[in-house]
């Protein structure tokens, strides 16, 4: 008889362990039951919220904003990153500025963007796009700059023009790093969107849902919204990984 292969199921152990610890904490009332509802109550709230409740709607709103912000960021940052990366001297001259704003917490920009765009969706999306764009820009530029020298020479020696070297080699060489930037960018965009939904006069979105549930002391709802946000972040990352594997099949090989 073949031994059952356990390896694919190992990740489940962590999940079961967490739920078990949670149950024990509730059972022995280690934590105040008002602050920590049981897993059953929480998952019921999650199920009810997603299937026809407000939570599903909020989930979609947050998803929309995050995707929109990432798309805007990518549309600006990818061409710009290529332009910067294809000339090392140009990049070196703006590197400090890019690095500085990349290191600036995007949440510190909220007041400024509020003045510029008001309290609507525009502000949330544009701050998220701002943060994501710098991350993507940085990665694309590095991807282009670190294109393998030999590959560029190979194209050149076969008679490729500078433009052909850029489009046929540099762009493709930078794709793996571009995807790293996109994945980091979308994660950051989600963080910013959720924070913005909490504090910038919002009527929907997962951030608003978490915040409102907490204000109303609806603890199962609050945990449900937190798990929904976690699921969203994990799902987005996974989606980009799958797209990457499809488009950048040579990455790491």
């Amino acid at each position: 008889m073949k031994p059952i292969r356990l390896d694919p199921y190992l990740p489940i152990i962590g999940v079961l362990g967490l739920v078990a610890v949670w149950y024990l904490a509730v059972w022995y009332q280690i934590v105040d039951p008002v602050l920590l509802p049981s897993p059953v109550d929480t998952f019921r709230a999650l199920w009810n919220g997603i299937a026809g409740g407000r939570l599903g709607f909020d989930f979609m709103r947050t998803l929309e904003r995050t995707i929109l912000a990432t798309l805007i960021a990518a549309a600006i940052a990818i061409p710009l990153g290529i332009a910067l990366g294809s000339s090392e001297r140009v990049y070196r001259s703006v590197e400090f500025v890019v690095d500085f704003f990349r290191s600036t917490p995007a949440s510190a920009m909220f007041p400024l963007f509020l003045v510029l765009f008001g309290v609507g969706d525009k502000t949330k999306v544009s701050v998220a796009a701002f943060g994501a764009a710098l991350v993507i820009l940085f990665n694309v530029a590095y991807g282009v700059m670190n294109a393998r020298k030999t590959r560029l020479l190979a194209a050149k020696v076969m008679g490729a023009s500078r433009l052909r070297v850029l489009t046929d080699v540099m762009l493709l060489e930078s794709l793996p790093q571009t995807f790293v930037g996109l994945r980091n960018g979308v994660s950051l965009a989600l963080v910013i969107v959720v924070v913005a939904e909490m504090f910038i006069g919002s009527t929907d979105g997962l951030g608003q849902r978490v915040f409102e549930a907490q204000q109303l002391f609806a603890m199962p709802d609050m945990y449900a919204a937190i798990f929904a946000a976690g699921g969203l972040g994990y799902g987005l990352n996974l989606m980009f990984l799958l797209v990457e594997r499809q488009f950048v099949h040579w990455s790491g090989r």
Binding site: R151, A154, V157, M158, G159, L172, H249, W250
Partner: protein
């Protein structure tokens, strides 16, 4: 040009062609190249005979690869003139095979599309590109699944794809920069013979930079031995054994003698440093 060695004279007596009547494919005159820390070439002259396979061998860091990189325009020269049949580089079709095939092939293209790429740059119509590629693959008798991506092929297969990519444009001259040094010994032996077959079949003038003296002599019609920096021609040795050469060639008197002579020149140059 270089000192005449006894070996060379003995061979010239036996094969009375000498250098007369040999049309140079490449003429290098007064080539000068300085790096920030050293003069690599100082008024260097060289003829590469047409239809021959020339191996370049010399001490580490003497500028073997630099030489072919300057001839092919990958590195700018400081002074001098390099002509292909009297014409400048841009009017010449040549092929170049890099040592590092992993970084020279395009991993996002299938092997067949890698080979096709230089033809695409020449703006040939698709039908003609396919005809040329298929003809070349058939004439070389290559048994690789060319619909695979480079990273799905073995090292030797990848380098063979590189060689085909260089050959598909039907170059007037083919340059190879230590093409087999990243392969294991078994594959190196196999690839040597592949290269020899290609050379016999196409008769393309070939310049091979090698760090393996046995390989340099085995494959060559001429072995160009370079001195230390600034590089000059320490000797330009003829080796006229009939092709195809095989393992048996390696133990033939002629081969052993030429190789011993080259080694002696090499050792002399190394000791000078």
């Amino acid at each position: 040009m270089g000192r005449e060695s006894p070996v060379v004279r003995a061979q010239e007596a036996r094969v009375p062609t000498g250098n007369a009547g040999e049309v140079p494919a490449v003429t290098v005159r007064g080539l000068t190249k300085r790096f920030p820390d050293a003069v690599v070439y100082d008024r260097f002259d060289l003829d590469i005979p047409r239809g021959k396979l020339v191996s370049i061998f010399g001490p580490n860091g003497c500028g073997k690869s630099t030489l072919i990189n300057m001839i092919t325009g990958l590195i700018p020269i400081d002074a001098g003139e390099i002509l292909f049949d009297g014409k400048p580089l841009r009017d010449t079709k040549f092929g170049y095979v890099f040592q590092n095939y992993r970084e020279a092939l395009f991993p996002w293209l299938r092997a067949i599309d890698n080979i096709d790429y230089p033809l695409k740059l020449m703006k040939l119509p698709k039908a003609e590109r396919r005809t040329r590629t298929e003809r070349m693959v058939a004439s070389l008798g290559v048994k690789i699944d060319l619909n695979r991506y480079p990273y799905e092929l073995s090292g030797g297969q990848q380098q063979l794809v590189s060689v085909m990519r260089a050959l598909v444009v039907e170059p007037q001259i083919l340059f190879l920069d230590e093409p087999f040094s990243a392969l294991d010994y078994e594959m190196t032996l196999f690839m040597r013979d592949q290269l020899q077959r290609i050379f016999v079949e196409t008769g393309t003038t070939t310049v091979l930079v090698s760090h393996d003296l046995e390989e340099a002599v085995y494959l060559a019609d001429r072995i160009l031995l370079l001195s230390r920096r600034p590089a000059s021609i320490a000797d330009y040795v003829r080796y006229d054994a009939a092709r195809p050469r095989s393992d048996a060639t390696l133990s033939q008197h002629d081969f052993v003698r030429v190789k011993a002579h080259c080694l002696e020149v090499f050792q002399r140059e190394v000791r000078k440093g």
